[in-house]
């Protein structure tokens, strides 16, 4: 898994590439925590290039969301392909996260 991080004004866009499992989720967790601790209030996670996620990845996202909620920020996901979205749906997380189709939609939702 690789993380590509860009800033669009006050929005931090994290593009995730690869597989988010027990091996890779710690570095995503670390990145999210550091962005939030650093005071960022708007984070967009782009899943366009994510091929796989398991419950460790989901746990990491829930942790990020809850941290962000505590600091009154906004946390948006975008670009989930259908098999990734399935997993969110099965775990009833589709209603828990704000999920947008494209990165553009995600940015709009955060503006």
């Amino acid at each position: 898994m690789q993380l590509h991080i860009n800033k669009h004004d006050d929005i931090v866009v994290i593009e995730i590439e690869g597989e988010v499992d027990l091996y890779h989720s710690p570095s995503l967790r670390k990145e999210l925590a550091s962005q939030i601790n650093h005071g960022e209030k708007k984070v967009l996670l782009d899943f366009e290039k994510v091929k796989y996620i398991d419950s460790s990845g989901l746990a990491t996202l829930i942790e990020g969301l809850q941290k962000m909620n505590k600091s009154k920020g906004k946390f948006v996901l975008c670009g989930l392909n259908s098999s990734i979205y399935d997993i969110f749906e099965v775990a009833r997380l589709d209603g828990v996260f704000i999920v947008k189709n494209t990165q553009k939609d995600g940015l709009d939702a955060l503006k």
Partner: protein, 150 residues
Amino acid sequence: MARCCNSDTIQLCISSNPKYLKLVRSVILQSALIVGFSEKDSRDVTLAVDEAITNIIKHSYMSSYDKKIKINVNFRDEYLELVLRDYGKKADPKTIKSRDLKDVKPGGLGVFFIKKIMDNVCYDMSPKHGTKLILKKYFYKKNCMDNKEG
């Protein structure tokens, strides 16, 4: 579904290091495809095994990465059977359960996925050391889900 094989077995033995998860996933995905599961079902079975191995690493071996995990893939006439053997701490079966989906919090989804995806999930605690987790998925769903646990 085009099934091609009689009873047959693949064995894979790894150490309990998360870096091998991807390799395990590719073995399970290939096995499910070979035996004729759809892409979607094969991905699901792969997720279930990933979750089970993740739990072994976290809970049975408390995240020590140099312990042994044995994975048997058994191609049976009516189902695909995955047997995961560890030699770590035995769990109290009562603690092996998924959280309430409405109680959103980090963690607690692994067992949920395993039970959701597989038709039969059995934690066999009878070995002297460690646990034998037996997961089955049938090729054709039975009418009465009589073998659905949990």
